[in-house]
Symmetry: C2
Subunit: 142 residues, 2 copies
Amino acid sequence: MTGLRSKQLAEAAGVNPQTLRYYERRGLLSEPERTLGGHRVYPPEAVAVLRMIKAAQRLGFTLDEIADLLDVGRHRHSPGLRARVTAKLADVEARIADLGAIRDTLRTALAAGCDDLITCSHTASCPIPFSGVAGAELSSRP
Amino acid sequence: MTGLRSKQLAEAAGVNPQTLRYYERRGLLSEPERTLGGHRVYPPEAVAVLRMIKAAQRLGFTLDEIADLLDVGRHRHSPGLRARVTAKLADVEARIADLGAIRDTLRTALAAGCDDLITCSHTASCPIPFSGVAGAELSSRP
DNA sequence: TTGCATCCGGTACCGGGGTACAGGTTTACC
DNA sequence: GGTAAACCTGTACCCCGGTACCGGATGCAA
């Protein structure tokens, strides 16, 4: 009775109803109960799950990764979970570092009234660490 | 004479040669000189530009945004540049904050030996701030 | 001058993440 | 019991960021 129908869930979570089925196919949302007629009835927690998905996604996780992360805890934990979480953590930390560099760059650019990012960066007329950021890219994920 | 051919540039920047033409079409790379026969000859700075593109891209900027950012400085600055940079900066800062929350979550999960992310997060049995992350998502970009 | 690597433009395709549409059933309310 | 809204499955399509393939035209070196 506390169940949600597709549209309600979709609205509550701010996604398209079609996306729910899509996520279900992709293994991100576990298959919900059905009415006798076959309509999906989601548990209220589904909203939280969706929000998590969206949050994780916005942060650069792919749907597969998210599915993986969620799924693991859903039924039983595969042995590799800790390793994967650890890897993800490293990944996230790297992203934070990169973003920090970009943030600094943007700030510097603004502060310097430097309206011109590339000219600045590659003529080295203002001390923007863009090559540092760019360099970071070389040493990271494929 | 210091010019680079497609393949050289591609290798120097770690991208596919096809991608160069693609970026050119997209306005990310300005049209290079040509040999008499029509082959592209890129200036050495192109490498730096490409690295910047890749760095920015890894950090969640779309090609259009990057084109925009680059283009502006390339010829003449549209009046909106500062505003756009400022907006991007806010965006980046928001991403950093979100990533920080995710990082904390992952750390907490690891530390708690909590192998199960969703169960943990939505049964509130361990004090993981996932809803905080999820909530942040509501207040941000479409 | 011949030969092979490279490049050219054009078009087609791929994977990721959705979204839309078709055509048919179910629900829910009057 | 009728009817409109919501739902169902399935398939097709869209955008993004590339990548691959094509047939033909250079570039360069021996």
